[in-house]
């Protein structure tokens, strides 16, 4: 037996290593990017234990199972090499090996239990085989350790048992070691470890979150496309990603790390709405494209309305439409629910936007309304094609101070966003102005000089228009002095605060929830207590919550209003998108239901009378849902309603000349 293992284990290791080498070559087909090999490998264990487990632990069952199984396996494998290959045979080692095997066996039983009636989000196929292979290996290792530890007499092993044990261990080694390199389900362990070590967004990990491109952020800003270098004269390189080998190699590596756990699938609003998008399948399609082949072997939920086996790809071939239909890419709301859920830290949104960039910048294939919005952005600086000079029409009677007239500077620069053209959002803006005046906030607006932030253009893949708008806005803002920017649009909040730094614009940006919370904390607002028994629920906007981690400020404001804040089934970092982000409201890919209807359903289920929102887009989407349902009110409107204004004060609200001077 011992001899058998001393041959089997090295053989498996060598074959596995060859497979791993091949895998590495597959990843390296992607665009090159330098990494620090040693540093990455040293950082990997901590990233696995801390950051990855932070995500995995949201599913306690599988977290514990994984610790036992993976921990047992790593230990058993290391010990088996020491014992059987290096020949260090003693009772202690044997005992440890037995213990490792046992731990793994217990974990494996739980893996097997989950696989008995697997939830729909899990892939079947080869993955159903995995618990059996794990069991074979752990059982084999456990049994092999028994005679060594003296628990069973050495001679007890008959030829038959040796044979059975050999088969068990051999099977296990084949799946676990050889399969890890050659692309079985265990590939995730090898690719996953490498992905953690060389992740394209190192800021996502606690070890370097303070450094790098986006210090202190959740690393949610899209990465800029270098338009000039990609368009160098004579360059055949196209912009964005048309073929799998045009992804960065770290992205390919990331796709390969997917364990097909389907958590992203379960979180994806577009998938739930029956649109032809499933983030898990998308990542698997990228793997298929990288390795070449068809999606016939994919054993998970397909894109709604499509059957597997009809699409395929190769590293050097177009992704759209052979491998992925364009509707799949245009269904995404860029809500990041998938990225938030993914235990392997895969970046779905980056991949989707990369492919959209090609479709828009090279193929001119943005869905129709999206293309119109882009043309409008170029011609009029706003997606609706309105006269940009009318950005302040709604405030004609408010006499808002322009920043241009305040060269000495102001505390708050109010960024209006494109909601300024929308009658519904104008009510929100007016409320916000009322509240700020009541609190004596020293503020001004950019007004006619303000342009769209570029959020929509960027998510639709038009990096050129985005960068143009960003540069123009940064040039405008550079002329003025202000302590911070406040906006009631989370998209502007994210783009100005997180994406403009890449283009030289560094600002302190606050969502109005942050400002309102601050005013309440400083007791600058006098609020009337709400009618007792009234309740509301807060809809976390993706670009405020998941993108920027602001979950607390709006809730603090709502609590200060004295209403009961009920949480929806999906809230906080698991909040469900309203369906309006990422240009999805324009691309409007048909599904079985609408995302906004589902979200309103979540709100209705809480029984709250009001769903509080903090985003013009969310407001529009949720108000577009048919009655009956809770009333949709912006945070600013709720605060404005609760304001207690004395007679004297109320006149200052209307007469700006009596404003508190800066």
């Amino acid at each position: 037996m011992d001899q058998l293992l001393s041959v089997l284990i090295p053989a498996a290791l060598i074959v596995g290593a060859l497979g791993a080498w091949r895998r590495v070559r597959l990843w390296r087909q992607g665009r090159p990017a330098a990494v620090n090999l040693l540093q990455g490998m040293l950082r990997m264990p901590r990233r696995y234990l801390v950051d990855l487990h932070h995500v995995v632990a949201r599913d306690r069952y599988i977290a514990h199972t994984h610790v036992a199984t993976a921990g047992g396996f790593v230990a058993a494998m290391a010990l088996a090499i020491v014992v059987h290959v290096l020949g260090v045979e003693n009772v202690v080692m044997a005992g440890l090996l037995g213990l490792a095997g046992l731990t793994m066996l217990v974990g494996t039983l739980f893996v097997a239990r989950r696989r008995l009636e697997p939830p729909a989000r899990l892939s079947k196929g080869a993955w159903q085989r995995l618990p059996k292979s794990l069991m074979a290996f752990s059982l084999g290792m456990l049994l092999v350790s028994l005679p060594l530890g003296g628990l069973v007499p050495e001679g007890a092993a008959s030829v038959l048992t040796t044979l059975v044990l050999g088969v068990l261990v051999g099977w296990g080694l084949l799946e676990l070691v050889v399969g890890m390199g050659w692309g079985g389900p265990m590939k995730h362990a090898f690719a996953g470890a490498a992905h953690l070590a060389f992740h394209r967004r190192p800021e996502r990990f606690s070890d370097v979150s303070g450094e790098g491109r986006h210090p202190g952020s959740r690393s949610t800003a899209l990465l800029p496309l270098d338009l000039d270098s990609e368009q160098a004269p004579g360059s055949e390189q196209s912009m964005g990603v048309a073929r799998p080998d045009e992804f960065g190699w770290q992205q390919l590596l990331g796709f390969d790390a997917c364990v097909q756990c389907g958590r992203c699938e379960a979180a994806c609003p577009a998938h739930a709405a029956g649109q032809p998008l499933n983030p898990k399948k998308l990542i698997q399609d990228m793997v298929i494209g990288m390795a070449g082949g068809s999606d016939a072997h994919y054993a998970g939920t397909p894109y709604t309305g499509q059957t597997t086996g009809e699409h395929g790809g190769a590293p050097g071939e177009r992704i759209v439409p052979q491998l992925v239909e364009p509707e799949t890419l245009w269904s995404c709301t860029t809500c990041r629910a998938c990225v938030e859920e993914c235990p392997m830290m895969i970046e779905h949104v980056d991949a989707i936007v990369d492919m959209r960039r090609f479709l828009t910048l090279e193929d001119g294939a943005t869905p129709e309304k999206g293309a119109v919005a882009l043309d409008n952005l170029i011609a009029t600086d706003n997606p609706g094609g309105f006269d940009n000079a009318s950005r302040l029409d709604w405030a004609a009677d408010l006499e808002l101070p322009r920043i241009r007239e305040r060269p000495e500077g102001v505390d708050v620069l109010l960024w209006l966003g494109d909601g300024a053209f929308d009658m519904r959002n104008q009510r929100t803006l007016r409320s916000l102005v009322t509240v700020m005046r009541a609190a004596g906030v020293d503020f001004a607006v950019v007004g006619e000089e303000e342009r769209d932030s570029g959020d929509l253009a960027r998510r639709l893949g038009d990096e050129a228009t985005f960068q143009q708008l960003a540069r123009q806005n940064i040039a405008t803002l550079s002329q003025y002095r202000f302590a911070r920017i406040v906006t009631c649009d989370p998209h502007s909040f994210h783009v100005l605060g997180r994406e403009y730094p890449d283009f030289g614009g560094h600002y302190r940006v606050l969502h109005h929830s942050g400002l309102l919370a601050e005013l309440i904390d400083e007791q600058r607002l006098q609020l009337a207590p709400a009618a007792s028994g009234s309740s509301l629920t807060w809809h976390d906007p993706c670009y405020l919550g998941r993108y920027n981690g602001e979950f607390e400020a709006p809730r603090r404001v709502l609590r200060a209003l004295g209403m009961e804040v009920r949480e929806m089934a999906r809230s906080g970092h698991r909040s469900r998108c309203c369906g309006g982000g990422g240009g999805a409201a324009l691309t409007d890919v048909p599904g079985k239901q609408r995302i906004s209807d589902m979200r309103m359903g979540d709100a209705r289920d809480t029984g709250a009378e009001v769903v509080a929102v903090g985003c013009p887009q969310c407001t529009a989407m949720l108000e577009g849902v048919v009655e009956p349902g809770p009333q949709v009110l912006d945070l600013a409107e709720l605060v404005a309603r609760a304001l207690v204004v004395s007679e004297h004060n109320s006149s200052t609200l209307r007469e700006p000349q009596e404003e508190v001077p800066a």
């Binding site: 196209s238 912009m239 828009t360 910048l361 090279e362 001119g364 294939a365 043309d375 011609a379 940009n388």
Partner: protein, 272 residues
């Protein structure tokens, strides 16, 4: 169908809301029609300021559309350099005569400058080519002739058979232009052609005396239709004017047709 060499005369337009320069909408439709017809055989032509960036918009339309002819990777625009105040007619006519193009498409009128819509007529006159105005679609085209659908009011169409070479102006009823993409727009080649010394760009004399001001939308006379069936009211609402009246004359010999036209122009006091 062997696709002919197609030239498209493009001009820089003005956005109706922002006034920013960009593509002229009818010209963009002309480019779309040309690309859908001839793909790689399309060359754009413009006479004016070589620094005009808005022309790149048209080059951005040189990308593939499923089901339509391939357009190649790089769009081409020949730019006859001249000051904006000059008369483009002779330059363009010379260029077209030598380029050997058989079909020239363009919009009905430019969005800036005179916008009289006369340029295609002047070119056709100078070159001795046929001219079709208000094209909605080109159904067929070979090296000799083309079958063209001409747009008439109220969605009517007239099928015409034209011998090439021919200049056709494209109506708003033509298919909407494809998206202009940033990649091909930047890649596209603009070949600047400096006028030959001898050619001598004709300065547009009368134009120097004009005063330019922004166009105002002319008030529309409301057509109040009382009573009648729903269909009548619908038709009245949808009609694009045309003043009622009019006669359709067919199968006249050219002499008689010319007499009819002269009589009509006299009655309208166009001819005295």
């Amino acid at each position: 169908m062997t696709s002919p060499e197609v030239r498209v005369l493009v001009s820089s337009g003005r956005h109706p809301v922002s006034g920013r320069s960009g593509a002229a909408r009818e010209d963009a439709r002309a480019v779309e029609m040309a690309l859908a017809l001839a793909g790689e055989g399309v060359t754009l032509l413009h006479a004016g300021d070589p620094a005009d960036a808005s022309l790149r918009y048209y080059l951005g339309m040189f990308h593939e559309v499923p089901g339509l002819p391939s357009v190649g990777r790089v769009g081409r625009l020949d730019l006859l350099s001249m000051p904006a105040e000059s008369d483009a007619t002779s330059l363009l006519a010379e260029q077209l005569r030598h380029a050997g193009a058989s079909l020239v498409l363009t919009g009905m009128r430019s969005e800036i400058g005179e916008g009289s819509g006369l340029l295609p007529y002047l070119l056709a006159e100078r070159l001795g080519w046929n001219l079709v105005a208000g094209v909605a679609a080109i159904e067929h085209c070979d090296s000799e002739s083309a079958t063209i659908l001409q747009a008439l009011p109220q969605g009517q169409r007239r099928r015409l058979s034209v011998r090439l070479p021919c200049i056709a102006t494209v109506d708003r009823a033509a298919p909407a232009p494809r998206q202009s993409a940033h990649g091909p727009a930047r890649r596209g080649q603009i070949r600047v052609i400096e006028p030959q010394e001898s050619a001598g760009v004709a300065l547009d004399e009368p134009r120097g005396q004009w005063r330019f001001e922004p166009a105002r939308v002319r008030p529309k006379r409301l057509k109040v239709v009382k009573g009648g069936s729903a269909r009548e009211r619908m038709r009245a609402a949808a009609s694009t004017g045309g003043g009622g009246g009019g006669r359709v004359l067919s199968d006249l010999d050219p002499e008689a047709a010319a007499d009819e036209l002269i009589r009509y122009l006299e009655s309208e006091r166009v001819l005295q």
